[in-house]
C-alpha cells in the first residue's frame, strides 16, 4: 500500500503542471456546481426569510374567509383572544398608498414573475403594543407610534432615500386627499423593515382605518401561542381547528407559511431555470473532470505497461491511478469551494436586480458543500476508473509497444448510440405528454440525453467538420494552420469532450437569447395590442368614471377608455384541488371604447373574437388569461365562480386572452358586470388615444396642467411603459446570461486544458517541426489553428443544438408557466454564439500556443 502511495505521489510531484491542470478542471467543476446550488437555495431562503420575518413569531394567522370577499371584522378579535392557548392576537390592516410627493411620477405596479415595476407604499395599521410580540421590529432610532395618534415608523433605509428624519411628517395619499403622519421611529434593516422591499410603514390601526374608510376592518390577526403549543405540531393543529370552529365562516385560520408558499410559486420559473442550470453545471463540470483524467491516464499507458512488466498487479495499477486521482481531486475540490462561494456571491448580486434584495441571506450549507465535493471527487474517480481499467487490462508488452497513433477512428457503436439518444430525447419531449409535475424532471433529463447524444456524435462529425475547419484554418493560418486543424483528429476522445463543452455553453447562450428575443417580441406585440392607446392616466386612488369625460374634452384626445382593477377571489370549487392561490386580478373594461384603442388576442384555437366580445357585453361573463386557463384547466364556455361582495356568483368564460402580466390569474369583465355583481365603479387608469395632428407630449402636458395638482394623477406614454416593461424582461433574463458566461468560461478551460495536454504530449513532434525549420510563430499559429478547429466544431454544434433547445425551452415555458410563446428565428443570438465560439477558442489557445513555441528542441527530440 505504502509503495502505491509513493508511486502515485511521486508521479504527481514529477508532473506538477499536469496535476495542476487537472486540479483546475476539478476546481472549476466543483465551484460551478457549488455556486449554482448556493444561488438557488439563497433565492428561495431569502424569500422565505422575508416572509418569515414579516409573519414573525406568529404561529397561526386568521385571514379573510375564502368563502366571502370581504375583510375580517374587528369584532372577531375578542372571540379569537378568548380561545384557550392564544397568548397574543395582534390585528393588522394593510393598505396600498403612496407618499403625496410621489403621486406625479408613480408608475403602475405591473407584476411580472413576482417583480414589480414601481411599487406602492404599503401601510400597515397595527396595534403598537401587540404587534412587536408577533413581528420583529428593530428600532434603530425613536419609538413605536402611540395608539390613536397619526404617527408612523419607517425603515431607516427608506427614510434616508426620502430624506426624512425623525419628527418629520410623511404625507400619504388617502381616498379623501392626504393624511400626515409624524415619524416617531426608524427601523433597522431587518424584520418588518424588509416587507415590500422596504417600502412600508407602520401606523396605529385606528388611524389607518379612519383615514382609509376601513373602520372596523382587518386583513389579518396574527396569533402567538404559548411555547408549549407552538413547539408541538399536534397541539398547534388542534388549536387551529378549535379556532376555526369558533370563528366559523368569518375567517380562515392558516399557518403563516402559506404566503411564502404563494410567493415561492411565483418564483417557480426562476427556480426551474436555476435547477436546470445546476444539472447542466454538474454535466459540464463532470466533462471537464473526466476530460482531464482520461487524458492523464491514457497518455501513461506505456508507463503503466512498464510497471506491469516489472511485476505490478492489475489491482495495484488501478489503485495507484485512483490514489493519484483522489489526491488531485480532493485538493481541486477543496480549492473549488472558496471560488464557488465567490461565484455565488456574484450570481446572487445579479439576481438581486430581479428578486427581492435581502442581504444577510447566504444559503451556504454543509450538505451543499458536501454535494459539490462529492461531484468533484466522485466524478474524478469515475473518470479515472475507466481509463485506468483500460490501462490495467492491456498486456505489459502491448502497452510498451504502443506508439503515437496517427488517427483514431471512432467506434461505430458510439455515434450510432449518440443518434439514438438524440432521437430518444426528442421523442420524449415532443412525442409524449407528461403529467405536469413530471414535466420538469423528464424534460431536463431529455435535454441532457440530447446533449449526451450530441456529444457522442461528435466522434463521427469530427471526420467531416474537420474538413471545414481545415479550410478556415488554412485561410487564417496558412499551411501550419492546415496541420493544426488536422491534429484534432488524432485524439478523438479529447476533441469530442472539448467540442462538447463548447457546444453545451453555446447552446445555453443561444437558446436563452433566442427565447428572450421571442419573449420580448411576443410581449411587445401584446403590449401594443392589448394595452394600446398612446397615454395612460393613473392615480393611486380610484378615480371617478366621470373624470373620463373631462379627459375626453381635452383638445387632442380622441378616445378615452377606463380600466378598474380589483383583486378578487375565486371560489375554491371552481379551481382544481390543492390550488393555493385563488386571488385573481379582475380588470373591468368598457368593451366599446376599449376596442377603439386596444385589442385582445384570443388564444383558443377555435376562437371567434366577435362572438366572444358579444358574449362579454351581454353580461355575466369574463375573459380569462391564457396563463389562468392553462394553470386551472379552464376553457371558453366553462363557468367560474367568483366571491363577490354580494356572495358567490358564477360567470361564463367568454374567451381566453393572451396576457403577460404574470403568474397571478387575470380576468376581464365589463363595467356593467362590475356594477351589477361587485357594486363597484370608478377607474384606476384611463387609456387615451391621441387624435391625429396632436402629439402625445402636447396632450400629456395639457392634462397635467389641468388636473395634476388636484387629482394626484400620473401620466405615462405607452411607449415609456412598454420600454419599462421590456427593460424588466431584460433584467430578468440577465441572470441566465451570467450563467451562460460561466458556461463559456468552462468551455474555454476545456480548450486550454486539451491544448495544453496536446502540447505536452507532442513535445517531440513540435521539436521535430522546429528542427526542420518551423518558426516559433508558426508553431503558435499551428496551435491556434487547432483551437480554431475546436471553435468551428463547437460553434456548428452549438448553433444546431441551440436552435433545437431554444424550441424546447419555448415549449417548456408554454407548458409549465402557461405562456403562449412562439419560437421566432432570430439570427442575432446565433451570430453572437458563433463569434463567441471563435473568440473563446482563440483566446484560450494563446497560453498553450506560447507554451508550444517555447518547446526546447533538443529536449524534445532527444529521447524516445
Amino acid at each position: 500500500m505504502h509503495a502505491l502511495w509513493f508511486i502515485a505521489l511521486r508521479n504527481l510531484s514529477q508532473r506538477k503542471f499536469r496535476a495542476f491542470l487537472t486540479a483546475i478542471g476539478v476546481l472549476l467543476g466543483v465551484s460551478v456546481v457549488l455556486a449554482i446550488e448556493v444561488t438557488n437555495q439563497t433565492t428561495i431562503d431569502s424569500l422565505r426569510s422575508v416572509f418569515d420575518r414579516a409573519a414573525g413569531q406568529a404561529s397561526l394567522l386568521v385571514i379573510p374567509s375564502s368563502q366571502k370577499d370581504e375583510n375580517l371584522k374587528q369584532g372577531l378579535l375578542p372571540t379569537v383572544q378568548s380561545v384557550k392557548g392564544v397568548a397574543v392576537a395582534a390585528p393588522s390592516l394593510r393598505v396600498n398608498t403612496l407618499p403625496a410627493d410621489e403621486a406625479g411620477d408613480w408608475q403602475i405596479a405591473l407584476n411580472l414573475n413576482g417583480v414589480a415595476v414601481g411599487s406602492f407604499f404599503l401601510l400597515y395599521g397595527i396595534d403598537p403594543a401587540l404587534d412587536p410580540q408577533v413581528r420583529v421590529y428593530v428600532l434603530a432610532e425613536g419609538r413605536m407610534p402611540q395608539a390613536g395618534r397619526y404617527e408612523i415608523v419607517l425603515p431607516r433605509k427608506y427614510a434616508e432615500e426620502k430624506k426624512l428624519r425623525l419628527g418629520n411628517g410623511l404625507i400619504l395619499l388617502t381616498p379623501q386627499g392626504t393624511a400626515r403622519f409624524k415619524i416617531t421611529g426608524l427601523l433597522a434593516n431587518e424584520g418588518v423593515a424588509l416587507i415590500n422591499d422596504g417600502v412600508v410603514g407602520f401606523a396605529p390601526l385606528k388611524v389607518v382605518q379612519e383615514s382609509f374608510h376601513l373602520e372596523g376592518q382587518l386583513d389579518e390577526i396574527a396569533i402567538r401561542t404559548s411555547e408549549t403549543i407552538s413547539s408541538k405540531p399536534a397541539l398547534l393543529e388542534e388549536l387551529k381547528r378549535s379556532l376555526q370552529q369558533r370563528i366559523g365562516k368569518n375567517g380562515d385560520v392558516v399557518y403563516p407559511d402559506s404566503r411564502g408558499v404563494v410567493v415561492s410559486q411565483m418564483l417557480a420559473t426562476y427556480q426551474l431555470g436555476l435547477s436546470f442550470f445546476s444539472i447542466i453545471a454538474i454535466f459540464v463540470g463532470s466533462f471537464l473532470v473526466y476530460n482531464t483524467f482520461s487524458m492523464t491516464v491514457s497518455e501513461r499507458i506505456r508507463e503503466i505497461g512498464m510497471l506491469r512488466a516489472i511485476g505490478m498487479s492489475r489491482k495495484q495499477v488501478l489503485s495507484t491511478v485512483l490514489i493519484e486521482a483522489f489526491v488531485v481531486a480532493f485538493f481541486g475540490s477543496l480549492a473549488g469551494i472558496p471560488l464557488g462561494i465567490l461565484l455565488a456571491r456574484g450570481l446572487i448580486r445579479m439576481t438581486d436586480a430581479v428578486i427581492t434584495p435581502s442581504e444577510e441571506v447566504f444559503s451556504l450549507s454543509v450538505p451543499i458543500i458536501l454535494e459539490a465535493l462529492a461531484v468533484g471527487i466522485g466524478v474524478a474517480l469515475l473518470s479515472a476508473l475507466q481509463p485506468a481499467i483500460r490501462a490495467s487490462r492491456i498486456s505489459p508488452l502491448e502497452a510498451l509497444r504502443v506508439r503515437a497513433k496517427s488517427d483514431t477512428k471512432p467506434a461505430k457503436a458510439i455515434w450510432i448510440t449518440g443518434f439514438c439518444l438524440i432521437a430518444f430525447g426528442y421523442f420524449v419531449i415532443y412525442g409524449m405528454s407528461w403529467p405536469e409535475h413530471w414535466m420538469f424532471p423528464v424534460g431536463s433529463i431529455a435535454v441532457l440525453t440530447i446533449f449526451l447524444g450530441a456529444t457522442l456524435t461528435v466522434t463521427l462529425a469530427i471526420q467531416y467538420l474537420e474538413l471545414i475547419s481545415r479550410r478556415l484554418a488554412a485561410k487564417a493560418y496558412g499551411s501550419e494552420g492546415r496541420l493544426g486543424s488536422a491534429n484534432v483528429r488524432r485524439t478523438v476522445g479529447r476533441t469530442t469532450l472539448t467540442v462538447a463543452s463548447l457546444m453545451v455553453s453555446l447552446t445555453m447562450i443561444i437558446s436563452i437569447n433566442s427565447v428572450a428575443t421571442s419573449f420580448k417580441k411576443d410581449m411587445g406585440d401584446w403590449i401594443d395590442s392589448a394595452l394600446g392607446g398612446d397615454l395612460y392616466v393613473r392615480s393611486a386612488v380610484t378615480m371617478r368614471q366621470s373624470f373620463g369625460n373631462q379627459l375626453r374634452s381635452v383638445p387632442g384626445v380622441a378616445v378615452v377608455t377606463p380600466t378598474r382593477v380589483l383583486e378578487v377571489r375565486v371560489a375554491p370549487e371552481s379551481l382544481p384541488k390543492d390550488t393555493l392561490q385563488n386571488e385573481f386580478y379582475l380588470y373591468a373594461i368598457d368593451p366599446d371604447t376599449f376596442r377603439q384603442i386596444a385589442d385582445l388576442q384570443f388564444t383558443d384555437a377555435q376562437a371567434d373574437p366577435e362572438a366572444s366580445w358579444a358574449r362579454l357585453k351581454r353580461g355575466n361573463a369574463v375573459f380569462i388569461s391564457n396563463v389562468t386557463a392553462e394553470r386551472y384547466r379552464l376553457k371558453t364556455g366553462d363557468r367560474i365562480t367568483i366571491l363577490t361582495p354580494r356572495g358567490k356568483h358564477s360567470f361564463t368564460i367568454a374567451g381566453v386572452v393572451l396576457d403577460f402580466t404574470g403568474q397571478r390569474g387575470v380576468m376581464y369583465t365589463s363595467y356593467q358586470d362590475l356594477q351589477t355583481y361587485f357594486g363597484e365603479s370608478g377607474a384606476d387608469r384611463f387609456t387615451l388615444k391621441v387624435a391625429p395632428g396632436y402629439s402625445v407630449d402636447q396632450v400629456a402636458a395639457e392634462i397635467e396642467s389641468r388636473y395634476q395638482k388636484r387629482r394626484h394623477i400620473s401620466l405615462q406614454s405607452t411607449r415609456e411603459f412598454k420600454q419599462s416593461v421590456l427593460n424588466l424582461v431584460e433584467s430578468a433574463f440577465r441572470l441566465f446570461d451570467v450563467l451562460g458566461l460561466i458556461g463559456i468560461l468552462i468551455g474555454a478551460l476545456g480548450v486550454v486544458n486539451t491544448l495544453t495536454m496536446n502540447v505536452i504530449e507532442r513535445q517531440r513532434e513540435i521539436g521535430a517541426l522546429r528542427s526542420i525549420g518551423m518558426t516559433r510563430l508558426q508553431v503558435m499559429r499551428m496551435i491556434l489553428a487547432e483551437a480554431l478547429a475546436h471553435g468551428t466544431m463547437g460553434g456548428i454544434y452549438g448553433l444546431l443544438f441551440g436552435f433545437l433547445i431554444a424550441q424546447v425551452m419555448v415549449l417548456a415555458m408554454n407548458l409549465m408557466i402557461g405562456y403562449n410563446l412562439s419560437y421566432k428565428f432570430n439570427w442575432q443570438p446565433f451570430l453572437i454564439g458563433l463569434v463567441i465560439a471563435f473568440l473563446v477558442a482563440q483566446m484560450a489557445a494563446i497560453g498553450p500556443a506560447q507554451r508550444a513555441a517555447r518547446v526546447n528542441i533538443i529536449e524534445a527530440i532527444k529521447h524516445e
Binding site: 506508439r403 503515437a404 497513433k405 496517427s406 488517427d407 496558412g478 499551411s479 501550419e480 492546415r482 496541420l483 488536422a486 491534429n487 483528429r489 488524432r490 517531440r764 513532434e765 521539436g767 521535430a768 517541426l769 522546429r770 528542427s771 526542420i772 525549420g773 518551423m774 518558426t775 516559433r776 510563430l777 508558426q778 528542441i857 533538443i858 527530440i861 532527444k862 524516445e864
Partner: protein, 253 residues
Amino acid sequence: MSVETLKNEVLRTEHLTKIYRMGEVDVVALRDVNFAVRRGEFVAIMGASGSGKSTLLHLLGGLDTPTEGEVYLNGQALSKLSDDQITLLRRQKIGFIFQFYNLLPTLNAVENVALPLMIDGQHPSQYQAKVTELLHLVRLEGRETHRPDQLSGGQQQRVAIARAFVNQPEIVLADEPTGNLDSRSGKAILELLKKVCKEFRTTVVMVTHDPKAASYADRVVFLKDGQILNEIVGQNGRVPFEQIMDFMAALEA
C-alpha cells in the same frame, strides 16, 4: 589555408565549447572543437557514448547555442543570427535525420516529405513532382499515402531522408540514422544516404556508433570527452572498415 579551400568549405567551427551547468557541477560536453567540412563531403563522427557527438551536431544545426566559440555555415556566424533567422536557415539550408525518424504521425509519406516546403508556404503544385521523385529515389513508390504507423522503421527512415533532402539543403545532419535499424536496413539506408548525397552534391555529417556505418563516409572524426581525438581520411569515397576498427581498438587500450 588557400582561398580555394575556403571557398569549398561549407561548415566550420572555431573553439566550439559547450558546458552544461548542473547546479554546482559543470559538465563539459564539448571542449575547443575546431573542425571544418568541405562541400559535398560525407563526414562520420564517432565516439563513445557521452563523448559529445549529439551536442556537436545540435550546435552545427543551430538547434542549440555554444557556451563559447562559433559555428560558421557558408561563412555566416550562427551566433549573430536571431532565432527566426536560424530557423529559416534550418528550413532552407539544413536537413536533419534522427535516430527515431521524428515523422508527423498524422501525415502520410508524401506530406511528411513535403513538410519543410509546406512550412515554407509553398503551394502543393510547386513541389508535388519533386516530392514524388524523391520518394522514388528512396524507393518508396507505392507507399506514398501510407502513414508512419503503417511503415516499417527502415521505410520511415527513408521518408525522413527524403524529407531532409527535399529543400536541397547545403548540409544534412544525421544523428545515428541507422541506430534503430537492423543491419540490412541500415546498410540500405547508408547506401541511399550516400547516393542522394552524391546526386545532390550535398554535404553530410553523420553521427554514429557503428564502424560499418562510418566506413561509408569520406572521413571519420573521432571524439573523446568533448574533444577531437583524431580523424581518418578515406579514399575513393570509403574509409576502410579495418582501419576504423584498429583505431577503436587502440582507443580502448
